[in-house]
């Protein structure tokens, strides 16, 4: 059995100091295997977003270690860290973060542009991923003119364009109505089961979390074994 794609050991994270000191994470350990689908579930302020940011190497932990595919993240720095995030991770955010003035295709190929891929290949790969998400006909539209569901599909397309191994989603259905949310959900699970992409989702929505392979419940900066609120 190969090393887990993500392993965290005794992660802590503290914001502020003195009387404003706030411990967002108080020692979290977990392992996520390749191809797994994991939901990190907690209320707002529970530390779930902080945990995701640390796992995605967007932030550095106060203490503890993170291993990505067996490599200690601490040994990676600057250029290597950026390259690893660019090639291994995809991000889907609740607020979309699309450049509304640019075309859909421009938005989707942004990670490839950052990676230094040439114009022709960028276009081909961008169109391929838009095809996969049934958005090819919208490629030339301005991103700002799309509906919420279409925007979230564009965001997923952007996350997939560099063929990541891990897809991080932060409340992916938070801004969508139930029907559209269901479609986005189906896309995400399809990617997980049919394309082998490891799916890590942060949510407070227990309905969204239910179909995941594993659910990690977090409260006040520590993982708890049972779903107390849900059970209650």
């Amino acid at each position: 059995m190969s090393a887990p794609i993500l392993a965290a050991c005794d992660l802590t994270k503290t914001y502020g100091r003195g009387p404003d000191r706030f411990d967002a994470l108080k020692g979290v350990s977990l392992e996520i295997d390749r191809g797994d689908s994991v939901a990190i579930v907690g209320k707002s302020g529970s530390g779930k977003s902080t945990l995701m940011h640390l796992l995605a190497l967007l932030d550095t932990p106060g203490g503890g270690q993170i291993h990505v595919d067996g490599t200690d993240a601490k040994t990676l720095s600057g250029r290597n860290l950026n390259a690893l995030r660019n090639s291994m991770f995809g991000f889907v955010f609740q607020q979309f973060f699309l450049n509304t003035a640019s075309s859909v295709l421009e938005n989707v190929v942004l990670p490839l542009k950052i990676a230094g891929v040439g114009t022709r290949e960028r276009r081909a790969r961008g169109m391929a991923v838009l095809e996969q998400l049934e958005l090819a006909d919208k490629a030339r539209n301005k991103a700002g003119n799309l509906s919420g569901g279409q925007k979230q599909r564009v965001v997923i397309a952007r996350a997939l364009v560099n063929t990541p191994q891990v897809l991080f989603a932060d409340e992916p259905t938070g801004n969508l109505d139930t029907a559209t949310g269901r479609i986005v959900e189906d896309i995400l699970f399809d990617l997980n089961s049919n394309h082998g992409i490891t799916l890590i989702t942060v949510t407070h929505d227990h309905d969204l979390a239910a179909p995941f392979n594993r659910r990690l419940y977090i409260r006040d900066g520590v993982l708890i074994t049972t779903d107390e609120e849900h059970a209650a």
């Binding site: 967007l58 995030r85 950052i114």
Partner: protein, 428 residues
């Protein structure tokens, strides 16, 4: 991110907020416009002065005369020395100018660096006349390396046997010549009186008409053949000694550096001669003009610095607006260097736009105004284009403005580069 992609993205980004970018460009435009105009003024006036200086003499010649030994009132009268000859000269009472003889010519020619020595014979013609019409006074001088600015005709042939002259434009109408072009090729008569009082008429051909000039004395330039003919006529009947004494000589040298010229001057001074180049005589004019242009340039730079703050402001607002976009790009693995490059390139591009448009407008308007002035109020100074634009200084202005814009862009770019992706993504 590849540098070319950074450039393309920066250019696209600078057009995202069109109104804000155009206002910043306007501010840079004003500075670049002013700087190009002042530069054009400097180039135009310098060009004019250079051509005017070239019209009265070569830059590779010294005018040499004997250093005056008179002057110290306390030292009393000088003892007589049989070897010196004194020319009666004007100036204040008691000042004398010593004549230069063949021995002096040899001494000057022996100074290292001097390639040739020509005595200056003072020629005093009485009149000039064309076609037996009205006679006019005329002063003449040999070419001696001068490059007169011709309104018509061609340069003198110094090696030929035909006596030739270049006539100032102001003589054309009074002499009865139809116009500048018709005057070329006409023969005029120059009268000169010899030592016995006899007037010798000498015929010479007009080869060129000189533009009215700032520094010239309004005299005619003559070639060697005419100069010899006039000198011979003037010297008829004079004692032989008078033909071998000159007030000053022209010493030519190969094009040299300022320090070499200084060395030659020092050598001549040590031998008892005073040497002046043309720059010595006219250089101060240029210094004054350069000073005035310098002050004008300083004003333009102040305008550009104000425009630089405009760039800082514009880009800081852009950074603020694009906080989440920057955060997203950093989350996707864009390095801080690339983010810095993106914003500072955008600043330099805004600078390039402003300065290119400003310089182009300055060149267009300046050329038009300069042309109008040359035809109107400044028409007496033929050949003066008060604004001239050389590619070098204009490119220099554009590069300078881009450099100022780039420096102004570093603060916002640094702010963008050091943003934490997490904080940027949380930013509402």
């Amino acid at each position: 991110m590849k540098p070319l992609e950074i450039l393309k993205t920066a250019i696209t980004n600078s057009f995202r907020s069109k109104l804000r970018t155009s206002l910043t460009i306007m501010a840079i435009f004003v500075g670049a416009f002013t700087l190009t105009i002042t530069n054009g003024l400097g180039t135009g006036i310098s060009n004019y002065i250079d051509s005017q200086i070239a019209a009265v003499g070569s830059s590779n010649t010294f005018t040499v005369n004997k250093t005056g030994t008179s002057g110290n009132p306390g030292s009393g009268p000088k003892k007589y020395d049989a070897s010196t000859r004194v020319l009666a000269s004007g100036g204040r009472p008691g000042s004398t100018q010593q004549a230069l003889g063949q021995a002096d010519l040899n001494t000057i020619g022996a100074i290292p660096g001097i390639t040739g020595v020509t005595p200056v014979t003072r020629l005093s013609p009485d009149y000039i006349q064309w076609n037996s019409l009205e006679k006019y006074q005329l002063s003449v001088s040999p070419l001696a390396g001068a490059q007169p600015q011709l309104a018509a005709g061609s340069a003198l042939d110094d090696s030929g046997t035909q006596p030739q002259l270049i006539l100032p434009a102001s003589y054309v109408a009074p002499l009865g010549l139809p116009d500048n072009n018709e005057a070329i090729g006409q023969d005029v008569t120059i009268g000169i009186t010899d030592a016995t009082g006899t007037v010798h008429p000498i015929t010479a051909r007009i080869t060129g008409i000189e533009q009215s000039a700032l520094l010239g004395g309004g005299g005619a330039f003559i070639n060697k053949s005419l100069s010899t003919a006039l000198a011979d006529a003037q010297g008829t009947g004079a004692p032989a000694a008078a033909n071998t004494a000159w007030a000053e000589v022209t010493a030519t040298f190969a094009p040299s550096s300022a320090s070499q010229v200084g060395d030659m001057k020092a050598g001549l001074a040590a031998a008892g001669y005073t040497a002046q180049t043309l720059d010595d005589r006219i250089g101060t004019v240029k210094t004054v003009i350069n000073g005035i242009i310098g002050v004008l340039d300083a004003f333009a730079i102040i305008a550009l610095i104000a425009a630089g703050f405009g760039i800082v402001n514009t880009l800081l607002m852009s950074v603020q607006e694009r906080t989440r976009e920057i955060g997203l790009m950093k989350a996707m693995g864009m390095g801080s260097g690339s983010v810095f490059g993106l914003f500072s390139t955008e600043a330099a591009f805004i600078g390039l736009l402003g300065s290119a448009i400003g310089s182009a407008a300055a060149i267009g308007l300046g050329t038009a105004v300069s042309g109008a002035l040359a035809r109107g109020p400044l028409s007496d100074l033929a050949g003066l284009h008060i604004l001239a634009f050389a590619p070098g200084p204009v490119a220099g202005v554009i590069l300078l403005v881009m450099a100022i814009a780039f420096i102004a862009g570093t603060l916002p770019a640094w702010r963008a580069a050091r943003q934490n992706p997490i904080d940027s993504l949380r930013y509402e």
